[in-house]
């Protein structure tokens, strides 16, 4: 008699369920792989490439064909002209050929040595063409009756072939991008600015979020309105509020300056977004202003799920309001606060739009993310931008390690 054992391995039902699960997940995985994983791999690839903004447009041959002279009667002499050039000033294009249908009834008098006309086609072979190359091919011809009958013009566009060495796909690698990123004195400044912005932005948003949540953690008339109102900074488009801030703190026509001068706080107007280190403080304040609603929302939700019996018991035992807050509420909120801290820390670290819109990374506010844009698009060195992006990604991996190590899944977001 065999002993009964619980079934091991996966049965057909479980396999079917897993198949269905993967089927349901497949579209998401495919889309995410295409737009997240692939670009991430690409950015690693590019970061080892000496590539600039101008290299993105691959070099190609540009050809224009036209006819010089009037073809009005049989026997007129006209010239077929091909103007050909390499669109790129530096890169060589190899194996360049040109092909076009040769119009019937047009009798070529003298054919350029690079070209031949046969079987109703003209074929030209230019071999390897250097950067900045430009040339003309002129073929004087006599007009025949067939040519006049068919409209007296060339038919279709000339076809050009040729292969250029594409910097993105060839096997040329360099460590120069990383060397450039790490060698510059700027890098450590940028890293410092990023850390300041991230740490104070995160803590500030949490503290203000906690304070706002405490304010609204009681029911009174108008509580709903205030809650909606306090979410405004988070909901409004960043570009709208960023420009409103710029206008509000403008050194010449800003209301904030006018107000401060009127109140006698300052003598002359302050350039809030234009001088170190005030600009960095201002963008950090903006970050706090914009994201305190998010922490407020989560903290409030957690507060409202705390059992009120406990508070009543503490009240009966004579605990004062501050004691209740410190000893009862805070321990319960620590979970959500730590998760929020980790998440906000990562998101603030990743933030680009806010600083880009407020200062453009000037006046000592250039963070790593703004540096990616600066290197890649302002300076036009895509490779260096990608190298900075890789640095960001590595920091991110470290952070997410901490997140999954210490972010409690039960309490998790």
């Amino acid at each position: 008699m065999t002993t009964m054992t619980p079934p091991t391995g996966t049965g057909p039902l479980a396999r079917r369920e897993a198949r269905l699960a993967w089927g349901l997940l497949f579209p998401t995985i495919a889309a995410v792989a295409l737009v997240v994983i692939l670009p991430l791999l690409a950015i690693f690839w590019i970061s080892f490439k000496p590539v600039g903004l101008a290299d993105l447009r691959p070099p190609e041959m540009v050809v224009r064909a036209d006819i010089r002279g009037d073809a009005e009667a049989v026997g007129d002499e006209i010239t077929v002209r091909y103007r050909i050039r390499n669109s790129n000033q530096d890169k060589t294009i190899s194996g360049v050929t040109l092909t076009q249908a040769w119009p019937a009834g047009l009798d070529p008098q003298e054919v350029d040595e690079r070209c031949e006309i046969s079987g109703g086609f003209i074929r030209c072979d230019f071999g390897d063409v250097e950067g900045g190359f430009r040339d003309q091919i002129r073929i004087p011809s006599i007009v025949g009756q067939d040519f006049l009958d068919s409209g007296g013009d060339l038919s279709g566009e000339p076809e050009v072939t040729g292969e250029a060495d594409n910097i993105l796909t060839n096997s040329e690698f360099t460590l120069e991008n990383f060397a450039k990123v790490f060698d510059s004195d700027e890098f450590w400044g940028v890293l410092g600015v990023t850390l300041f912005y991230t740490i104070f932005g995160t803590i500030g948003a949490l503290v203000f979020g906690l304070f706002a949540a405490l304010l609204l953690n009681k029911s009174f008339r108008g509580q709903g309105i205030l809650r909606g109102l306090y979410l405004f900074p988070y909901v409004a488009p960043v570009i709208a509020v960023a420009f409103a801030w710029i206008l509000l703190f403008d050194p010449f026509s800003g209301s904030a300056n006018a107000l401060l001068i009127q109140m006698g706080v300052t003598e002359s107007s302050i350039d809030f977004f234009g001088q170190r280190p005030l600009a960095l403080i201002m963008v950090t304040i903006f970050e706090i202003w914009r994201y305190f609603p998010l922490s407020f929302l989560f903290i409030l939700a957690r507060m409202q799920s705390i059992d009120t019996d406990m508070y009543e018991a503490a009240d009966m035992d004579g605990a004062s309001p501050f004691q209740i807050f410190w000893s009862l509420s805070m321990p319960q909120l620590l979970g959500i606060l730590s998760v929020l801290f980790l998440l906000r820390f990562i998101w603030t670290f990743n933030k680009f739009d806010d600083i880009f819109l407020l200062t453009g990374g000037n006046a000592g506010t250039r963070t790593l993310t703004v540096n990616v844009y600066e290197q890649a698009f302002a300076i036009g060195n895509i490779g260096a931008g990608a190298a900075v992006a890789v640095v960001i990604f590595c920091c991110l991996l470290i952070f997410s390690f901490f997140f999954f190590r210490y972010g409690n899944q039960e309490d998790g977001l």
């Binding site: 809650r227 109102l229 680009f352």
Partner: protein
Amino acid sequence: MSALRFGYITGPLLGALWMFILATTISVGMSLVTGDPFKPYLWLSFFWGALLGYGAVQFPNARTVASGSVAVAFILLGFAGFAPIEVGETTSTFSSAFSWILLGTISAYTTYVIMFDCAVGALTRHEFEAAVIRFLTGLGYIFFTAIVLIPFFVMVMTSLKNQSELIQNPLDFSLDLSKGSDLFRSYIELFTDFNFGIYLWNSFYISVLTVFITLLFAVPGAYAVARLRFNGRAAFSRSILLIYMVPMIVLALPIYIGFSMAGLRNSILGIVMIYPVTTIPVALYMLQGYFRGLPAEVEEAGLMDGLSRLKVIWKITLPLSLPAMASVSLYVFMIAWNEFLLAFMLLDDPSKFTLTRGIASLNSSEIPRQHLMAGSVVATVPIMALFLGLERFMTKGLTAGSVKG
């Protein structure tokens, strides 16, 4: 701290601080609304506030009398030059008197509220802290309301004025109502000369498409992660979050290169392809949290009765999760509507701009500021209206799916 716990110290102390806070608030408010100079007077605020605070603990039953008499007193003091709010020479008599009455009434009333139940003599720790908390609560309401409202106030008012008026007096946000519809000139110009109608429409349908595509991908995915058992479920659940943490600017660079090569740059198709991918992870995460909270028994009953899994999702899970769907849709719509970076990098052709990209194009020295602000208002108002209308869903959905009690 215990040295402070006497009514005759706590009262004047909180009263003094509170008076200064109120005087500052009302001065700022009046300055912004009328454009005339108002300014809080630090030492006079402290003096009158302390007196009021002492009165509130000494005569705790005189709240109504105090409100009236302080208002009258502040008017008289104001004309004599001793009120906590100082006015300039150009300030009109009416608005000065108004600010003093306002300050007198509010300060007296609220000081009594703060010092509620506090005696002149020794206070228990409980009473003392309750008074401090009421003080901080008042401060909190004023502070948060002010910092949230002022930027939006400036945005709206600037859009209704013109540049020369603003440079002349940056504080003057009073509106000249006699101008009538001319007040909205910058809005009219935006829609006639700057194609904002097209941008609005582009933003709208791109956002709606993004919502649909996101749900199409995220609902099955979220269901699979929440309900079905398969190897790698936990890892998958975590990697969703991990993907949500990849910064957009890191992806934007290769996407820009890829789109440039594929000819998708500068096309709405490209934008519609890329936006959902940025929102699918968060939508999936929110939805799976909600699906987990639904009772599995209902679905099992459906399965027993012969429905297939897909039918169960369609006929049972989806109708049950309509509130979550609403909040996820709203959130995704908000992300797509507010998205700036990708639109800025990928769109160059003015006929394909979204609103955020359109506003960015207004940011030049040749275009007056009120157009920029009018554009900002045009972009802000729809999302605000939508959000305020559906705020309940939004707050619930954002938090309920994720935070477990």
